[in-house]
């Protein structure tokens, strides 16, 4: 007997036929004593359709009303899936995020789960039901409906698994698990049997799209083993958990991540005095722009001036240009250059802490392949290089060959 939380994304529940396939699969794999909670997203393109309706009413973003609109998407899926499970002969009940006790802050469109009171989920499980919960949504303390930020349904599933002290949270997806590199780029990339929360978080942060960082964080905080696996193929996927169960696995690089949604910003000839960097990054933070790799270099020829180079998401480029335009022509920040078409490539592995020379091997491999490194940054369990976007496939392949 196990308590399992299973999450299916929008493409897995895009039509009544697909919903039926999911229901059949869940029932086929269920042991008589298993207690099952299913978390689902909105059906296929329905969120896009709702956004299009909203845009026909206004081009402004009214967060509260948009959340009121979008939360209907998951509510539709849960009703249909619960009906389908009953049609197939198993008691089932659907619960909206609020009904499942998911409490959030009031940040419309990017809510964070503050707490979960899963009494009604337990009641429904005790009554013998499969419980179908709407992902991506919760209730604020003022009674408003709130949608969670990116990867919201993953976060719902993992947080709910934590609150229910579930044995496992299964994230069903269109790939078979977490790979050592993007299999579309590196044909001999392999599926990992297991990976730690820390490594997965770093992989996700550095561009591996399979899981959203927030959901992995949630798993780490509540000690929920997360099983990332295929919606379609009935094979094991990748377990994300506290530590490796196979010992020697921990002692190496686990994967290569890359991210092409990157823009390099170079602020050249900056006054080298206290407060200048703060001025730049405070201005970006106030516009809600995350800054990633940061390098400051002192010019040998003129130590009163310095260059500050950093990266941002390419999607944030228009806002960054607008925010930094305030400084144009200012004495303190004479030149600001934006460079798209760059990419970040990273190696990740808790093992690198005890393994000297990882950086050297990475730079060597890139150098041998004739790839120029623009910026380097490191964390405890990763090393990242900024390179030209045109080189990214070659870079991922040669680094994967070097380490894996």
């Amino acid at each position: 007997m196990a308590l399992q939380v299973k999450k299916f994304g929008g493409s897995s529940v895009a039509t009544p036929e697909k919903i039926k396939r999911i229901a059949e699969r869940v029932l086929a794999q269920k042991a008589p004593d298993d207690r099952i909670v299913i978390v689902v997203s909105a059906m296929g393109d329905s969120t896009d359709e709702m956004m299009s309706l909203a845009r026909q009413c206004t081009h402004r973003v009214y967060g509260r009303e948009l959340d009121m609109l979008l939360t209907t998407g998951e509510q539709t899926t849960i009703a249909l899936l619960a009906m389908t499970l009953m049609e197939l002969g198993h008691p089932a009940i659907s619960l909206t995020g609020p009904q499942a006790g998911i409490q959030t802050d009031r940040a419309y469109g990017k809510g964070r789960i503050l707490a979960i009171q899963p009494d009604r989920v337990f009641e429904a499980l005790d009554a013998g039901n499969i419980v179908v919960v709407a992902g991506f949504q919760g209730l604020a303390d003022n009674g408003d409906l709130i949608t969670l930020g990116r990867g919201g349904s993953d976060t719902t599933a993992v947080a709910l698994a934590g609150a229910l002290q579930a044995d496992v949270c299964e994230i069903f997806t269109d790939v078979e698990g977490v790979y050592s590199a993007d299999p579309r780029v590196v044909p001999n990339a392999f599926k990992m049997q297991e990976i730690t929360y820390g490594e997965m978080l770093e992989m996700a942060r550095l561009g591996a799209g399979v899981m959203q960082p927030r959901a992995v964080e949630m798993g780490s905080r509540y000690h929920v083993p997360i099983h990332v696996r295929s919606t379609f193929a009935d094979v094991g996927g990748t377990m994300i958990q506290e530590a490796y169960t196979v010992e020697d696995q921990g002692n190496r690089i686990c994967g290569v991540a890359h991210d092409t949604n990157v823009t390099k910003v170079a602020v050249l000839g900056v006054d080298n005095r206290p407060g200048t960097a703060h001025m730049i990054f405070d201005c970006l933070a106030k516009s809600g722009i995350d800054v990633d790799m940061i390098v400051q270099s002192i010019r040998e020829s003129d130590d009163s001036r310095t260059d500050i180079v950093f990266t941002i998401s390419e999607t944030d480029l228009p806002q960054a240009q607008e925010a930094l335009a305030a400084f144009t022509g200012e004495e303190a920040l004479p030149t600001i250059l934006f460079t798209s078409h760059v990419a970040k490539i990273s190696v990740v592995g808790a093992g690198m802490l005890g393994t000297p020379g990882v950086a050297a091997r990475m730079f060597g491999a890139l150098g041998a392949a004739g790839i120029n490194i623009q910026i380097i940054s490191t964390s405890e369990i990763s090393i990242s290089c900024l390179i030209d976007e045109a080189d990214v496939e070659k870079a991922v392949a040669c680094i994967h060959d070097t380490f894996l």
Copy 2:
């Protein structure tokens, strides 16, 4: 300064363009001090589309899950209308039925409003908003979403107007008001300026489709004046209220109603002893079938046998046949005949209580037109005749000519 509740049905809010037209109209008519609550239904065909999705999942009716699904319809409309009002420059906020404090029983698909706690509506009005409330839905004491029965959005609007002690509840519809007869049948039928709750209730019960009886009842109970008027034309409609404001209006027949959704059931040769009628009607009641006109006649030739004739909705015919099949061949109820293609025609008016001879004039008019009367039934403010469905247009016209 007035507190107004305005209700718009599904066809008035079928597209973003129509929603915009509604919003513009509401804003154009709003005095600066007016406090406005708008109740809306699901957009156009969206309920049908959801029913079709549900039918692709199951052919059974799972009431709780169906309500979970269908309540998304109004939730979509309120979000879009609130956005549109804001886009047009007026503060607005949407509230689901539960958020508006609408408490119902647990009767999925046919909920009844038990109470309304409109604190949040008042709060939102006090903050200067137009408040957009989802019709047709409420919250049961167990936290489940419930849809109201037929005419649900009208009921929401009138009940909310009662709870808010609104000055008026305006029901916007595709006709200009309540007519003395169906204008499609009687070209010289006229729009009534006013009508009492009692008369409107009787008109609605007897087939006038413009308002659902439950909503009229609600208006009567909470003393809410209901203004039935056109969504499209900016002219006054019909006021439904306690009593006539123009005195002599009360002293006459107010309208002619007809209903072709009728089937006649004749149970012939019934044992004339206590309990037989109860057996029949108890069996129908247990199948949820409403019985309307009932006539029992004793045969002159054989007073141990009697005939019982009554009418039901034609839509209930299959269930009635199934329910009464249990008695087939039983000694006590030898013959049961079902006759479709009948219609009920009625005159309604509180005035008939003080006006003798209304029945005689009605039967005379039908007789002169060569129309046979199959059953007659009367209430305090109406007289109804069951006739052949083929005669219904002629009958409505000649009775309208006689009385109005």
